[in-house]
Symmetry: C2
Subunit: 389 residues, 2 copies
């Protein structure tokens, strides 16, 4: 397999973007990434797009073609493919772009992620998001994602003594990071008290335990390492490990609901390929769709022992100044969660940190970063490990 | 890039399958392909699934995970990814599976295609299919796919003198082939008279110029050629060319509406990779969603000169006994068109013909076959060229 690098990144503001359409968001993120990379449109061999449910949100399937068209590439007739795996759609699109270069088929690939969830004519966001769960065994009976993750949180508390305060601290940390991210949806600090007293959503999760409904897009330009120097003099960020795994679609079929086995398997695959272990990871973007999800993630990724996620939060291990900073971008909680864009936005953050481009949230000289993107309640997970060159 | 072969195929009956669910169809096609291939579940490194609009048809996104789960593989945690490009979703899934093996990442990959379009709770099939066209510039104003292809037919008639009789003969030929396919939705002969006198749908297209609304699934097992002999003694079918291209999402943006430039570009890519020319292709499955689409396809693939597609039909070039048999399976017209499954079903037919497994519709000793899969009115095209080994 050929080596692949990220050579350009682009991202839109995340938020309730009432004045920006699906097409505008995709063109904005894509053109930023292309400008950043130094490639011309004619250099691009293929496009991949992650989107969870454009068919339901904006009444439009076939968005691989739409994105190529909206980006002004229709006359180039380049292959453009949409990839979907619920909230992991963006990460899966990255993986397909990566494989298409690693295979030797392509040299330069642009990967976008997009979701337009506000100001749309389709069904409600909650109803559409529930199509990522098992329609026949879960959604039909009324459970939505806050409910599914609330069950995971309850069980984590029961098994490991995790507390609501520890959940709240995850949100406080991610908001503290998001304040420093000009593209974040919620650039405001919160407190543990505020999180604990927020409106209940699904016990034990309150409003500030939940990621928001967001519009946004992100894009990266991937290139074979051997060709990258033709386009850019910026530091290259190499993808050194890519892992993906699946699990039962419904929560009840799993051996445990406090461990995401898809995370464990995807992580093992990525660690093995990159020849890295959890202790080699300097920082990570993890899929904190709910605060409990971040606690499970840092355990399942091997950053801390199973059951010690809450304790790690208490010890400030994952804060910006901690030994293993997690979600320096603000995470899904504060940056926002346009579901199909999230996995690509994580790669944008990891690449910016590794290039030293992260502005006033720049970590001190990180070498290896990890992006962890989950679909549904954990039926899909995709992980990328990246290294500065 | 490593060489990749098809080592197993499976397909369900196509039709209005009121007694079979989405899950059942996917498990049936997948298990048939696995049995045919000689691999065990534990040998499978990854899955890809093509589906156009499961989110709207059956209220379920995230079907990569669902299909792995329904196939009994959840405990194996294998990567499973859904790919979407409207009616080209199946062909795109094949291409991703192919690339993932060619890259060296995987050895054995199962690729499925599925659509459940009848007996579903979502919006009407016509409305959901229209999400493959440009929602803002086409569908919103009321045009549906029969209307779009009718415009292409009208223009083809105007430019090249193509006749309604020639369109009808495409349907007659494909029904004659479909009679010999036990999985076809419509196993009945029709006549030119019957086609010409069928209920009008969108002038000049009548009911028998249009492919039907269909439930069905298909699957293939792909394997690196170097590993294939570990699993099967059956003849291998090698993928020697893979091409994909895009075009404007809407019809009005194109330089011509009688040529699908996406087909032309995807074909050039596949011909170049395989070192074959149109004259080397012994037979083809082409995307006859409407009769006019087959006439454009045989021109755009270079089988006949531009504008001579209707004439070629008159000359019986594309019949079962002609010099270039097209749609021996019955095509989308007679076999049926479960949109996400179609591209995979085409690969099933080409592989069966090349292995000599096509039953009473077996061609005499074919060596090279082509599969041509189109999304929407031609904004996506994916083409595979395959050779018996």
């Amino acid at each position: 397999m050929r080596d692949v690098a990220v050579i350009g990144v682009g991202i839109t503001k995340f938020g309730e973007l009432w004045n920006k359409s699906f097409r505008q968001l995709t063109a904005e993120a894509g053109s930023k990434a292309i400008l950043d990379s130094g490639v011309d449109g004619k250099d691009i061999d293929a496009m991949y797009v992650g989107s969870m449910s454009s068919g339901r949100f904006v009444g439009q399937e076939h968005i691989g073609a739409l994105v190529a068209d909206a980006s002004g590439f229709s006359h180039l007739h380049i292959p453009s493919t949409r990839v979907e795996g619920a909230c992991a759609s963006g990460g899966l699109a990255i993986r397909q772009g990566y494989l298409s270069i690693a295979s030797g088929m392509n040299d330069v690939v642009i990967v976008g992620g997009i979701e337009k969830m506000n100001d749309v004519g389709g069904t409600s966001a909650t109803e559409t998001l529930a199509t990522a769960a098992d329609q026949e065994w879960e959604s039909f009976f009324g459970v939505t994602f806050p409910g599914l993750y609330a069950m995971m949180a309850k069980r984590h508390m029961y098994e490991f003594g995790t507390t609501k305060e520890q959940l709240a601290k995850v949100a406080v940390k991610n908001h503290a990071n998001g304040v420093k991210n000009p593209n974040a949806q919620y650039q405001m600090e919160i407190t543990v008290d505020k999180a604990l007293n927020a409106s209940p959503v699904a016990d034990p999760l309150g409003l500030l335990d939940c990621s928001p409904v967001t519009d946004g897009a992100a894009a990266v330009v991937l290139c074979s390492v051997e060709k990258a120097k033709e386009f850019t003099q910026k530091p290259l960020v190499k993808i050194i490990g890519s892992g993906q795994a699946s699990d039962t679609l419904s929560l009840h079929g799993r051996r445990s609901i406090t461990t995401l086995d898809a995370t464990v398997h995807a992580a093992n695959m990525a660690y093995k390929q990159s020849n890295k272990s959890p202790s080699d990871i300097d920082f990570a973007e993890v899929h904190d769709c709910f605060t409990i999800a971040e606690i499970c993630a840092i355990e399942d990724l091997g950053f801390v022992e199973k059951g010690k996620g809450g304790y790690a939060v208490d010890q400030n291990i994952t804060t910006f100044d901690g030994s293993k900073p997690v979600n320096t971008s603000g995470g899904l909680k504060s940056k926002g969660h346009p579901v199909g864009a999230t996995g690509v936005a994580q790669i944008v953050e990891v690449a910016q940190q590794l290039r030293g481009d992260a502005g006033n949230r720049q970590l001190s000289n990180p070498h290896v970063g990890l992006a962890h993107n989950v679909g549904g309640s954990g039926a899909t997970c995709v992980i990328h490990i990246m290294e500065g060159m």
